[in-house]
Assembly symmetry: D3
Homo-oligomer: 269 residues x 6
């Protein structure tokens, strides 16, 4: 299964957002999307878990968008325009990060288009700081920036185990299980943003800000497949693979399997 | 515990089959046997789990056999001859891979010698393709080649989580638990082939084709020790360690501990 | 949270003991303390688990003590003097290894000062050999040397899964659970020595002598926090991180989180 | 300069031959072509050395051809057919290895089409063995196989510093400098095969069989640019980058710069 | 020689500028200053080349300044303020990068203070682009930004071997040898900015944008020592070590030796 | 050429001394001898440079001697006894380190046996400190310890570029070229000790204490072959390969080629 090899056209549009300019500990997430494509070659297209095959799913891969490095504002503008274009084509955006700030560009595109949009945030970190050393645009403030737009009550969090005391005061109110979230979101349009550092570093060392004590692979996979199957998901991202940090390549394979399972869960419906 | 250090003679014969010419994603399993020997130095000879000591087990290590690179047919012939020679000495072959195709050489030697032979296959992948890009001899077709010789009903699989839809149609019929297998095989001669990628990549990243969502160490170890203790095992292999893929060396230590536990379980009886 | 950044003074005194001269398989633990400080930057100071913040804990970091390489006796003398000085200041020593032999220097300082001292030893290995190739001072004999001073009945072990048959004969008598230990030690002064190889190599590959089949992060963390909260801990060490063995850096982050949780558990009381 | 990014059509046809099944020491050259494309992004398209720009050169990149793993004969057949097709389109083949055996497939295609073909072989090793452990098709026999077809007098070697005594007896007769070769080949059609291990391991560690004491970058680059400029080159290959062996990525950048310089030298004329 | 260990005060002020947000190929230069300090431990303080000892040089290390990640403008403002403060103390700034854009912050501080300031730029790349994908602030535009302030005639370049055709048209006019530069600058105040990728990747693989065909260690070292000895150097930087790209650590040692030699050459006078 | 594979008996006796307990910066030289054996497989037995074949040389490999870790005195005693035994068999010792301190054990054995013994020391470092943090036995004091026994006038040094001012005062008196040394030593018995960090880190990054600005491969190789050919060499060592520091493996290959060339130069006579 090599996404790049496919020249097909489809309903779900994968694209890479290779930006990592605000990473606070270790950069390198810019190499995430390409590493996912390369690692996808080790996987079969068939998912025994969902008894379905990626070859039967309507999707396309538009490769990485070209992004500048440095000031993040133009980067977010390009991502926003990319997502607007995909939705205008009546397709569903599936973004591969890149660091987590890229999600803000997608949300800016989607909020006006999907009234009542809800955000489902899987992560080890709350990402609810108001700024990071004065910077308002950071991978550690991205959910706060989204909350500024959409209200914190439209967000639910899974997997959180790191933040400041102040962040946890906020986060505790919106922590939820997949079952809670399905009951809460009902038919609303949902955007799922999955920071792969929700996984335990043993499973996923290849990320800039690992946090011990996290999810195992099947735990994350089951949560994603369940929520995507039950909810009205209108957009998705998988972020924060920094592949060069894990020289074994296992982290990239984990990310590629998460992406396959999400594609199949999205497309089966 | 350094196998190489031992110049002893014994009933169980370890040997390395350093071939990786058909690896479909990442080669390097040729370095597996030597890495197992080196990693064995970090382990004690005593197994608290089995309350027995490797020093009381009758085994020898014949080091790696010399294999050419390229066309796999002569490689399989050399392995077959090696196994035939070991059995002719009234000893039990324990092969360290190398990639999984090496198992075919061993099976070719053993089938005529052990009527009613049964194969117990531990792996993440079905290995039941009929060919890989036209090649009949591949580490992704090895169990199909063995089934061609011995019949698929003489095979049972544990740990499978990757394959094509067609492979799973076959594999589902022969998936089993260790308890099922003990009941099924009874007194029959059994060959155990353990592809270490049955383990989760967090436990065993050092392999060419990692597949997330796998076994933990004790889960594999308990299954092997149980089956070896209860069954009439007449040959064994442990394959697909590609040590350079895991620069921490942990994968080689995992493989070495699996080998120690198998040696003790085999020899205690 | 960067320990080095802090120029504060406090009740708990962190210091590094960068020695690895007796490591039997792979050296490199000398780089452990500095790697813990650097990795601590990725962690928040707040512990959601204990609902407490490192910023409210009275501690200081005295950086690494200068140690020679080679003969371990002068190394142990320097560590002993360092710990004596800390206790003389009415402070609590928290040593970052370095290999496990460094614990002996600390214990030599503490035994005369704390009658009835008990040792709580978390490790994969018994460390109860009497010598290693003739050397009495080794990271594989350290608990035996301590038992020579304090008596084996004053020691309890958690997590042990590797040793010789002779070592296990001893070790079995002193293996215990955290609950057992709390009941046993009561109000006695306790020293906790935590060899991080108690963790499974999937969680903590960055150590000289990994042993498959070990603890997961939360299992270790919960045991440490529970025991520190309930016992009269008068000294502590965390040893055997060899960071360069794990190029992903995850092991250093795991060690840094263990240290944060211990500091908070010690300081909250 | 990212070859992959270009969807242009051109006179020179790059393609990757990702095969490494006969590598005698360390495999991994299958990843060479893709690594060259990725590393090419760090380079400018302009060559100050040749004062010319890759953007003015007529070339295209057909990406990697799909090759099976295992028996090398079908691999060579596919390469031969690929080169025949390129020449039939009146274009010039420029193959990126892969291991050195891939050259044999290209030569088999070209010999019937270019009477009087001459081979210019840059390498650390003679590659003149008749077999390797019985295998006739090996990266260490490839020049001997070519000599079997075309005669050893049609071959010249540069950079050789490793071989058996027997190989050197042959090789000494065909060792030459670039100036010698220009005088010798005159207007004849020439094929240049460049095994990058001609470079010193300090410059190019990322190869399966490094040999100390080799060429520096400018020494190789100047030789290639000079010969390509002066000779009637009708085909070219650059082989034996095994990128994962050099985690710094410098070897891939070196290979990409060699490829850029060859493309410009070929296309300027 | 560990800079960090020194709590001395001195005339030359080292400080780290750990920013890498505009790196166009591979980030990681933020870890450069700390890696230089750690690597400095392997070096002696005595320079046989200059027959002088760092212990006799008046310098201090103010460690890394705290910089945000993301938008580079506030980063440059902090660097500018830092350099202004150092000069106000009548000391000489010696900045350790970080990526090359950090130089712009220093120059902005120095231009008003040193009329007739000249810039000596050692690098593989011209860094004379006007923008990179629209971004005016980039490590590939930094010398153009400086030329915008000070005029290109106040700049001289050494070691350049990569750029666009347009950049080379400019660069050719200001390329010079150390001897040329000494004759040109005379008594003028000079700022030396040394991008370590001027070195050949064999010597210095640990950098984001390696360019084959560069300087050897002694060639760079001799040029720097000569120019610093002869010129009126009022500020200096050494940038673009990305240490994690070179797992051998050799690149960090090379950088640390360059820094030692510059400190001694600056301080001897 | 795999030394281990050979079960031959010969005049020159290779053995490994896997000790690294006094390494001052980065340990790991204990893995040097085994890495040299493994890397030797990539090399041919024939030396084009000397036009001679290792297969015609009378040598044997006794593998690694077993050494304890910790206090270096018993280690040196074992090495001394090993060398005494080899000379008693009328054979020539060729030790593979390990760190440089191992040389002291060999010299202690040889001084009483060879009156007028001269030491030829190739190294980047003088190794003439009297102690290192109080330790008299250290890899940075080894030549001083030897000078204490044999007198500094019986030693000559090549390649030195690092030391304290005090060490250089001594070292300058005994620095020499190979030609100087041949003239000086005449027919005296000579011991050659080659610390591989004499090489530039670009050629040999795999060592604990790299020092930029060193020898290239052919420069070292020519010096060794010349001196061994002309002098009465009665013992030899090659030390300080720490193979895990260079993940490309090139350093191990460099060491193996140096060893091959020395074996041939020694044995040809």
């Amino acid at each position: 299964m090599n996404y790049l090899a496919s020249s097909q056209s489809g309903k779900i549009v994968l694209f890479g957002a290779p930006f990592d300019g605000t990473a606070t500990f270790r950069p390198g997430a810019r190499f995430g999307p390409q590493a996912i494509r390369e690692a996808s070659q080790v996987l079969e297209t068939y998912s025994p878990n969902q008894d379905a095959d990626l070859e039967d799913i309507s999707f396309e891969d538009r490769s990485d968008i070209e992004l500048p490095f440095g000031d993040p504002q133009p980067v977010l503008d390009i991502i926003q325009a990319t997502v607007e274009r995909i939705v205008a084509e009546n397709k569903l955006p599936f973004m591969l990060g890149g660091e987590h700030l890229v999600t803000l560009g997608a949300i800016k595109a989607l909020v006006p288009l999907y009234p009542g949009l809800k955000i489902i945030h899987l992560d080890a970190h709350t990402d609810l700081r108001d700024d990071y050393l004065g910077q308002k645009l950071s991978h550690s403030t991205v959910i706060k920036r989204i909350a500024d737009i959409i209200g914190i009550d439209s967000i639910r969090q899974i997997g959180i185990r790191s933040g400041t005391k102040e962040e946890f005061a906020l986060s505790k109110k919106i922590m939820a299980t997949p079952a809670d979230i399905i009951a809460w979101a009902k038919k609303s349009p949902c955007y799922v943003t999955c920071d792969l550092d929700i996984l335990d570093p043993s499973v996923f060392p290849g990320t800039g800000t690992p946090e011990p004590g996290g999810f195992y692979f099947n735990q994350l996979n089951d949560a994603l497949v369940l929520m995507i199957s039950k909810l009205n998901v209108i957009g998705l991202d998988v972020v924060e693979l920094a592949p060069q940090i894990d020289p074994s390549g296992a982290s990239a394979v984990v990310a590629a399997k998460v992406v396959r399972e999400c594609l199949i869960a999205l497309g089966k419906k």
